[in-house]
């Protein structure tokens, strides 16, 4: 399970690149050039206090890590940012890179004319950015232990900086910190896994993020904590965390997606299926469906399907035909078929056959609960098809052991509302169905419509709130609007004066009479 999640999150951060279909230029630039452009972007971000530049710089991580000369470019970048070799910050970063990269000496090393102290203060964000790049490099070379220790140092240093421009960078740093710890032996869900030692660190980070109003880090750390708790099945702790904290409303979309997904999982385990369903549905709707982040969409859809089955609804067949989902959802398709028909034998076979895959997805325990759903669906099918059917036949159709069991099961089904308008005839041992229930005569359609309307109106409100106006254009439009209003006022004033003059004339005329 940790592996699958790994793919999710490492693809998740490339979602940011997906979002605006990243600028074409970096693909053609050399790796070193990209890193220096990012330095410029980060400086701009610090100067203008606008996080969008930092985000753009972070987006290029996905392209950078695929380049073969990543390590060399990284070394060159470090040398460019900190020309003095004795600089402590530079040494910390360089320690993590292999020897070959460190030895390369460019002829012109002294490009920057800045002083030492000025360097450290002004481009602390650059140092943080390089730190994140080093983390990425260590993760890609699977040096997890080194990565874990380096990340802990990086994170504690970042916490000491109380700078808002650092926020996107520190949230990334925490993400990689968490990923390193998940890969250290013993792997979760063992109770001795190092992820447990990480919890106090993450909780402290959450506290400081909330105090400093740092919504990026707050969102990222909350999601990481939930992931941590779920990986060791500490569901009660995860539930308490959700109850005690607030997820920031201004968080980025991909963090919101992840949060909804983990929340849905917790609710599903706690048997609160309706809530889980709404959470997971929102997660699937908000997640990107193409590109490198498809893994998350697949995972969320799998959970959604299982929760829908547990609620008693059958998911639509069209979901299984989407090209991105077809292969991933193949075993789930068979599962849905078995549940739909009420075929208990087929269900058991499907579960046993795909046990490994279901365990990997973390849905195995939920699927085991589906057994009673299969039976309920079977009973429902039978009551719809027959107006009168003997209990013995029900017994054979549902593969239930005894007639008594069948009787109890049908009685319970009637009580639970699975087959309304039915009754049992005990002497003859039959199930009777009284048909003639007109759905349109009841309030069901209007309730369904009401739900849908509510959801759509809510979505519209969210869209309106999320709209952003770029500063300059607005100012110009505002100025023009103001000018237009002034002109109108003048016109109105003139008209009123003209009326007054007329009145005076009229009045004078009257007097004259």
């Amino acid at each position: 399970m940790a592996e699958k999640m790994d793919i999710d999150t490492s693809n998740g951060e490339s979602k940011e690149e997906e979002k605006t279909g990243g600028p074409v230029a970096p693909a053609e630039m050399s790796t070193e050039k990209i890193i220096s452009t990012n330095f410029a972007l980060i400086n701009q971000a610090v100067d203008s206090f606008d996080p969008r530049f930092t985000l753009r710089a972070l987006r290029s991580i996905a392209t950078l890590r695929k380049r073969e000369d990543f390590a060399q470019a990284l070394g060159a970048g470090i040398r460019q940012a900190f020309p003095k070799e004795s600089n402590n910050a530079r040494r910390v970063l360089e320690e993590m890179l292999p020897e070959s990269v460190r030895q390369q000496q460019n002829g012109s090393a002294e490009t920057n004319g800045k002083k030492d102290e000025v360097e450290v203060v002004e481009i602390a964000e650059v140092w943080a950015y390089l730190g994140v790049l080093v983390q990425v490099y260590l993760l890609d070379t699977a040096s997890h232990q080194a990565g874990a220790t380096f990340s802990l140092n990086l994170v504690s240093k970042l916490r000491s900086f109380n700078r808002r421009t650092m926020d996107p960078l520190s949230s990334k740093a925490y993400l990689y910190l968490s990923l390193f710890h998940e890969n250290l032996a013993p792997l979760p869900p063992s109770p001795q896994s190092p992820v447990l030692t990480l919890r106090p660190t993450l909780l402290a980070a959450l506290r400081s993020a909330v105090i400093r109003n740092d919504s990026d880090t707050q969102a990222a750390v909350t999601v990481l904590l939930l992931r941590n708790y779920i990986s060791t099945a500490d569901i009660t702790q995860a539930d308490l965390l959700v109850a005690q904290t607030q997820f920031p409303a201004s968080a980025a979309n991909n963090q919101v997606c992840r949060y909804l997904y983990y929340l849905g999982r917790i609710r599903a385990i706690q048997l609160a299926y309706t809530e889980a369903h709404s959470n997971l549905e929102a997660a699937t709707r908000k997640s990107p469906t193409t590109g490198a982040a498809v893994g998350f969409y697949q995972q969320a859809t799998k959970m959604l399907i299982v929760v829908e089955l547990l609620m008693g609804d059958i998911p639509e067949r069209a979901t299984f035909r989407l090209p991105v989902l077809e292969k991933a959802l193949a075993p789930y398709f068979k599962l849905v078929q078995a549940v739909r028909v009420g075929d208990l034998g087929g269900f058991v076979k499907c579960v046993e056959g795909n046990e490994g895959r279901f365990r990997g997805d973390g849905t195995y325990t939920l699927i085991l609960r589906l057994r009673q759903n299969v039976i309920k669906t079977g009973v429902r099918m039978l009551s719809l098809s027959y107006s009168r059917i003997s209990l013995r036949d029900i017994c054979t159709r549902l593969s239930v052991e005894s007639e008594e069991s069948a009787e109890y099961i049908t009685a319970k089904a009637i009580r639970d509302g699975v087959i309304p308008d039915s009754s049992l005839d005990h002497e003859k041992g039959d199930l009777l169905t009284h048909s003639g229930r007109d759905v349109y005569g009841s309030t069901e359609p209007s309730e369904a419509f009401h739900e849908r309307i509510g959801a759509l109106l809510g979505m519209r409100d969210e869209c309106v709130r999320a709209m952003r106006y770029p500063g300059n254009r607005n100012r110009e439009a505002g100025i023009e609007a103001m000018k237009a209003r002034e002109r109108e006022r003048e016109l109105v004033g003139e008209v009123l004066e003209a009326e007054d003059e007329e009145d005076e004339e009229m009045g004078g005329g009257m007097d004259g009479l």
């Binding site: 048997l271 325990t365 009685a411 319970k412 039915s422 009754s423």
Partner: protein
Amino acid sequence: MAEHELYHIIHQLEKPHNLQQAPQLLSKAKLGLLHIQALVPSSDTTPQHLHIATSVLEHGALLSIRLKDTEAFTRYYQQLQPFYSLPHDRWQRDKRPSNQSKVTGLYLLLLLSVGDYAGFHTVLEGLEMSSGKKQIEKDELIQYPVRLEQALMEGSYDKVWGETKGERVPSAEFAVFSEVLINTIRSEIASCSERAYPSLPISNAKNLLFLDSEGAVIQFAQARGWVAKEGRIYFPQQEAEALAAEKDVMSSSNTVIENTLGYARKLETIV
């Protein structure tokens, strides 16, 4: 010295007759554990102390079940949790506490009997994660509550009846819960029968509800407000429901009006 005392107390607890004195013995034992600082396991607790502590707490748990003190049992279970989550190498000679599955199984059964299915599944998830499925399947003491839960959810109450009766119960402590469970399923069956059958002959009701005599059936029927006439039981609930359904139409017009006004308001805001 303290250990010596503790061994003595454990020995006494294991004798079956001391049920009444058990609570005092247990509090003495817990004090002793505090003296040797073994009540909560830390990194420097010796394996010997771990063994003593777990056996004291487990005895406490099992005895509180026999005394039907569910609060005390839950407390002992919580206290045992940190011990159970310790890794294998802390226990020397590969001797894990022997009663772990029993105590866990009893806790699961307790959750079932109060109807806390969410808690039941949460604990089960935690177990699957830590021990793996193979071990759980082989473990009869844990499979018992799992089977019961499955049967309860399905609604095959005769299976539940069969499990709680006699030989299939894994051990004496589980039998304590049998009574509670049987009462639960009896009320479940009763509410199902109210909806499902228009009427029932009393002899059939006797079999359905697992009651011993027709007198007991009539008593039960009266307690639930059913009408017993001419050897048959009539369930009155459905007529009341039919009336309620009719009223629905009137009250639903209120909801319709409210909803429509809401739509109108929201639509106005759309420019």
